[in-house]
């Protein structure tokens, strides 16, 4: 078994599986089992253990920190179908397993957007909501003519359908530990290579022909659909729980291009928006001490 260490990264104190609506969901926990729960929700193509450096800092402040691998991600089961509502139902299943009381929830990227929608639909589950660079913004396509947009959609559609035709037999491409880290660096260019090598050992599996990411090969970026990012934004101003948003200013492939001046009017009354200059999309990985400090302060200090 290959082990790679990274300064500050800690394996979860407890790991278990939950059967959520027939789908096996892998859960990871740090901190005192008797402490108040705090939920972390990862972004698309990530997995719970991308919080291995961030979560222990919150656990050290006295929280029982709980995260899970979304269906098809990490150690959770691969599903026949994936969807936004299904991810939210899975989240409800995990949260309900641990508590029926309001709890703090921290979501990164897609996980942040999922939690905005859940907080709007089921506010009783949230004592606080923290969004780490998962605040929606309009797609930067407003100046593209409709004709050209049609062309782009046609190629997007064909590419996505071609991929779906291959999903029954798709496997992830194997590689050495360093090769997988280098591949991930293409979408995570600001993160340290040592961190990415560490992620390989917790987010990939090794077989005779090399390492493969655990992420279901039927999942990929892109696709299309009727949802518009601003519709998630419409759910923000009315949120009633204490709200903290943290965004980085450095644009990178996985980032959402959220512009502070565009998102400020949508921050719930009494909420805070922290803008980290010179930091990219993975604010909690680039600046774990700073962001954990912000979250702990937002939650009123340690437990």
């Amino acid at each position: 078994m290959t082990t790679v260490t990274f300064p500050g990264a800690e394996a979860p104190a407890r790991q278990h599986e939950l059967d959520v609506d027939g789908v096996i969901i892998a859960v990871h926990e740090w901190g005192d089992e008797a402490a108040d729960p705090l939920f972390l929700v990862h972004g698309g193509s990530d997995f719970g253990r991308t919080y291995d450096e961030f979560a222990p800092r919150l656990a050290a402040a006295g929280w029982r920190v709980i995260t899970w691998d979304q269906r098809g991600h990490g150690d959770s089961g691969r599903a026949a179908l994936y969807g936004w509502d299904a991810d939210i139902r899975d989240a409800i299943g995990v949260m309900t397993h641990f508590t029926h009381r309001p709890a703090p929830v921290v979501g990164h990227s897609k996980g942040g957007a999922l939690m905005i929608q859940l907080a709007d639909a089921q506010p009783f589950r949230f004592s606080h909501l923290v969004n780490l660079d998962g605040l929606p913004s309009k797609r930067p396509m407003s100046d593209v003519s409709e004709h050209e947009r049609g062309r782009m959609v046609a190629s997007d559609l064909a590419g996505w359908l071609d991929h779906r035709r291959s999903t029954a037999t798709a496997t992830r491409k194997p590689g050495s530990l360093d090769e997988l880290a280098a591949r991930r660096a293409r979408s995570n260019p600001r993160l340290a290579m040592d961190w990415l090598r560490y992620l390989v050992t917790v987010g990939a599996f090794e077989s005779e022909d090399g390492w493969r990411w655990k992420l279901d090969p039927s999942m990929r970026f892109g696709g299309f659909g009727p949802w518009r990012p601003e519709w998630t934004a419409y759910r923000m101003p009315g949120l009633g729980m204490p709200f903290l948003g943290v965004i980085g200013t450095e644009q990178e492939p996985m980032g959402w291009g959220t512009v502070p001046d565009q998102i400020r009017p949508l921050i719930p009354v009494g909420g805070r928006l922290e803008v980290l200059e010179g930091v990219g999309h993975f604010v909690h990985i680039e600046q774990p001490a700073v962001v954990a400090g912000m979250v702990i302060d937002f939650l009123g200090g340690g437990r």
């Binding site: 139902r89 359908l161 039927s218 659909g225």
Partner: protein, 215 residues
């Protein structure tokens, strides 16, 4: 009737052949909560082979656990059938009409006409954001139709401009003057937008089939 199973990710899709023949196939797409017919419907007069697809969670296709349905993933079901059959004409009922529209736009060069008919699931969900609920359904016994399919696909978003985009893609890439025929009576907002587009003819389903058979 003979049935072929086609793999789409973890799902085995049942594609039924209702009529033998040569030439361009006709592909039937059922409505929400339905399954494929076991014989060719009386109104259909088609010179070539006739096939009918059971969508994921319907008929003899796999009923998965945990839901996660969207119209787009069902479009991919239909596209797997298209890959198997090659160039074909499509007839959709209700929800299947919406899928037929999307397929006609997404694979415009391979769909030689799509007929949109009334049927279950024609209306779909809202055209924009709504107050949401997230209902966890009781465990299924695995029988079709999947309750999650009924729940999720009946509230699937259908903005009118999104539906109209598929007409424009069909017009741009099919090479047909009128690649879509609306044969139903009911006009939910997305279908109203569709019939306003250039390239959409409103006629009876029989006339629509005759028109596309002649292509």
């Amino acid at each position: 009737m003979s049935t072929t199973y086609l793999a789409h990710n973890q799902v085995q899709l049942a594609l039924h052949q209702l009529q033998d023949g040569s030439g361009r196939p006709l592909l039937l797409l059922h409505g929400l909560g339905e399954a494929s017919p076991t014989t060719v419907p009386d109104w259909i007069d088609w010179p070539g082979p006739v096939h009918a697809l059971d969508f994921t969670g319907h008929g003899a296709s796999t009923v998965p656990v945990g839901g996660g349905y969207s119209a787009e993933i069902i479009l991919a079901d239909a596209d797997v059938a298209l890959a198997h059959l090659g160039e074909c004409t499509v007839v959709g009922r209700g929800f299947g009409a919406y899928i037929a529209l999307m397929l006609a736009g997404a694979r415009a060069a391979q769909v030689r006409g799509a007929v949109l008919c009334d049927g279950p699931g024609l209306w779909g969900g809202p055209s924009g954001p709504t107050s949401a609920d997230f209902v966890v359904l009781a465990p299924s016994d695995g029988s079709a139709p999947d309750p999650y399919a009924l729940h999720e696909l009946s509230k699937d978003l259908r903005p009118a401009d999104y539906a109209a985009l598929f007409v424009r893609l069909a017009m741009e890439h099919s090479g047909l003057d009128e690649p879509l025929a609306v044969a139903g009576v009911v006009r939910p907002p997305w279908l109203e937008a569709v019939v306003r587009e250039v390239g959409v003819v409103e006629c009876s389903r029989e006339d629509a089939l005759a028109r596309f058979a002649a292509l």
